[in-house]
Symmetry: D2
Subunit: 287 residues, 4 copies
């Protein structure tokens, strides 16, 4: 049924107390579970505990469904908030983009080469330019224009496309549009944005222009979950690149794009592998 | 008179136009000037031109004083703002610090080992703790307490100590006090601060606390000239270090201190070697 | 004739002596040449001097051809080795690849988005897999298999394809084949390779395996010109990424590929913009 | 007896099998052990398992001695190689240095500021220059000259000083002498060296000279345990800094020293906090 590469991924968060690890690891050991990767984190500031266990699926005598049932006892006892997933099931990723293709192109390359175990039901854009690159990858492309006086209808259309796609993850690959609160709520911790600035510096539009005028010596990019607060959701990953007086705004944009695609690629990978737990607008990333 | 290591350092800024480099380099060539390092920068955004030339002192048939007189013609013709200095003259550096010694200690080490060609007329602190490390280095230490209702008198005392020291550069090595406008003006582009945050993020007090609560994945430090606007003077250099959910505020502080001493050491070196030109609240750093 | 974005790029190397900069900058100033970017480098170790000047084409009263004739005098007087090129003429880039497409894909994206001013006459591979991505970009694809006993014929075929392509630059985008000495000589300083290791560590095959078994904490990639000495030509650029005991060889390969595409993209850009001078198996990169 | 900051640190390695974590965490939970930090690593390449647990000392009803006795059962059952230590006991660090003081100075600063919980019984050098900095810190200084024909006697003297010091860790802070095999064996995984090159590149003497002549674009430093094989012991940490054609060998040395002190400081901290496990000439660093 399972190959020796397939794993179950169990993630847990709960108020910290003695005995959680013992209970969970005893449960796994009793059924012969072979743990391939384990991460724990106790946060003394909040008093919470976080855990991610990756277990070889073929080492357990039961399916994901049975796991869920059998684990319920422990979960109740320790007031666990928990999820379990199968690494072999590809996640369904819908990408929202605008005109720039450097992030989209990069995701398609990782999809094509098998680096990501995903399906891409469709790409949605408010401009028509990315239709061709989608057709190369046999991926449906939806052009949903965002006009000032018809934003609501546009996002209703997008909501309906997301529904039909049975989407697991939404990636804003330089989408440049503000997502309405209803979608932020519905897909909480499922919408990943790449911001072309080193948050919390330079939120909002034209971050490279802001950076240039401040004369900073380093610019960056930030991958984060989207919440109703603009550019203020939980940060997943960041990276930076050194700049100098030699760099015009155009140079900064170009250098920044190299970082954007990289940070988004990493952040998306952490999400796809269930490595991210969110707590109080911050992330725990077990990588 | 000069050793073959001694150089004159000529720095220039002016509105850009054709012929500046030709005129300056012809002047140097006519006197046999041997250029060991040359940097140019044309900024299309402001329309200004910047230049730094380092010339072997023993290749020129005259002293710094004569250079100044002979160069005046070109300077007037091209409306140059310019300075020239001798690498062999040690700059006089006064260090202001508080209780933490990681930056002060690092500067003393570079001074002692000859990495910096400087004199340290004195160290000034609002706390007594750093007296001992100064006595090890035979450096006068002045304890000038800063009390809420006697700030003015304290800074008058400091101003007088700076005067007596014939100071060229003032280093705020985690001084943690706001410098009064009068001193900012008097020592414009001569006061170097290390801020323990990645400006313009996290200006003001407790930047690591701010960074922790924002959940950023990278923290940094910023070396800048001090102006009347708090933590907003021209940025000289910055650097960063990666953090994660594993890092408490204390960890961040500790990691940050490693970056602070490094960024301050670099920024100070650029200043000591006359590598920095300031224009419109930004720096050109020729390194 | 020229737009205000077009430039002439003049690069020079010669034994260092007084007066070179004065002569070159006087020549440019006499004809009204507007220098947009200038870099100089004196190397005391070798006694050589290097220079790159970028001049607005529309500021000079003559064409590239006339520039070449008029500049000959100075060039002879100072024994200059020099080149001049026009930024508006796209360079012709032939890409050699194998089966992996991360570098090829990245170059195509930069070509498509206009980041690189290039033409791609064709792609050559010893495997058929990359035909599709080339067809998407309307780029001729040549499958030239490399068989152990027919290497010579294969490279004769490749040499002939390069000839027909009027190639300016050859990029080995993870080509994984050793280029014969005749081609290395013919295209000296025109063949750019990306090596998936931090040279001079880990030259030759399977660098990530070598790195894993050594237990290094940082892996890297190196972009260099190809010479007859395997993985030992002049280094153009390098970059690194941190790894740990958590990283299997597969993880290292994946992280390394992120660096490979970035370093190759940068190195190629420096070459396309005539920013690289080679001297004694080392590069001067004016960026 | 214990403050709420004091911890026991348990490190374990053993062939991987199901049930280890369950057994260890049940043992800790049964006695009410409050785990503040936990790290696991399964290495599929070697089939070994590694673990580090940090437990609040005041949460356990017994001393370190009792812990050792009670834990012996599990240790035998799972064939564990294990150690346990108390965070409150300062480790005894002897520093061997030569003439350069940048690393020694940095360690003294961290010691003085309380960043490291250590004692420094003495400093040993083959040159007299560092006596003064040691006297500032009230640390005994031993000048043991290393003469070509009397190396053996010198190292016998050093061995005896180490013995008397009841040393836990020996730091080679740019000591520049080869440690004899007898000491390497006696203090296996207890001698930490900082090598001023990015190993395995540039082992042996004058790594910056080697790097300069190779024309690399990045130089580095490596912190590793000392074994009989020169510069080839298990790597603890590395870091790098970018260089260019602008950097002479002297510049590289200066930039490199900034990295050396940082990498040594980090590597030493990992060791002091019992974060390093060694297996087959590689390290697992739980940080």
């Amino acid at each position: 049924m399972f190959s020796d590469m397939d794993t179950f991924i169990l993630t847990i968060k709960c108020p910290d107390r003695v005995g959680i690890v013992a209970a969970v690891s005893k449960f796994l050991a009793d059924y012969g579970g072979w743990i391939t990767e384990a991460h724990h984190h106790s946060d003394p500031a909040s008093g919470w505990f976080f855990m991610r266990q990756e277990i070889r699926a073929d080492s357990l005598p039961f399916s994901l469904e049975s796991f869920r049932k059998k684990f319920a006892d422990i979960a109740t006892r320790f007031a666990l908030q928990w999820r379990i997933s199968e690494s072999c099931r590809p996640k369904r990723v819908v990408i929202l983009a605008s005109r720039l293709d450097h992030c989209l192109s990069d995701i398609f390359q990782r999809y094509r080469s098998g680096e990501y175990n995903i399906e891409i039901p469709c790409v949605i854009s408010n401009h028509p330019q990315l239709a061709e690159i989608c057709s190369w990858h046999n991926t449906p492309f939806h052009h949903v224009a965002i006009k000032a006086n018809r934003r609501q209808q546009a996002f209703e259309k997008i909501a309906s496309l997301l529904d039909q796609a049975h989407v697991d993850v939404i990636v804003l690959a330089r989408y440049m549009q503000i997502i309405p609160p209803s979608l932020c709520k519905k897909y909480s911790n499922q919408i990943i944005n790449i911001h072309h600035g080193f948050l919390p510096s330079f939120s909002g539009p034209k971050p490279y222009h802001q950076a240039f005028h401040q004369g900073v010596k380093i610019v960056g990019a930030t991958c984060h979950y989207v919440t109703e607060a603009l550019d203020a959701g939980p940060i997943i990953d960041q990276d930076v690149v050194r700049v100098s007086h030699n760099h015009s705004i155009d140079h900064m944009v170009r250098l920044g794009q190299d970082i954007e695609r990289l940070v988004l690629a990493r952040g998306l990978r952490y999400h796809l592998e269930d490595r991210i737990l969110v707590h109080e607008n911050k992330t725990i990333v077990f990588n």
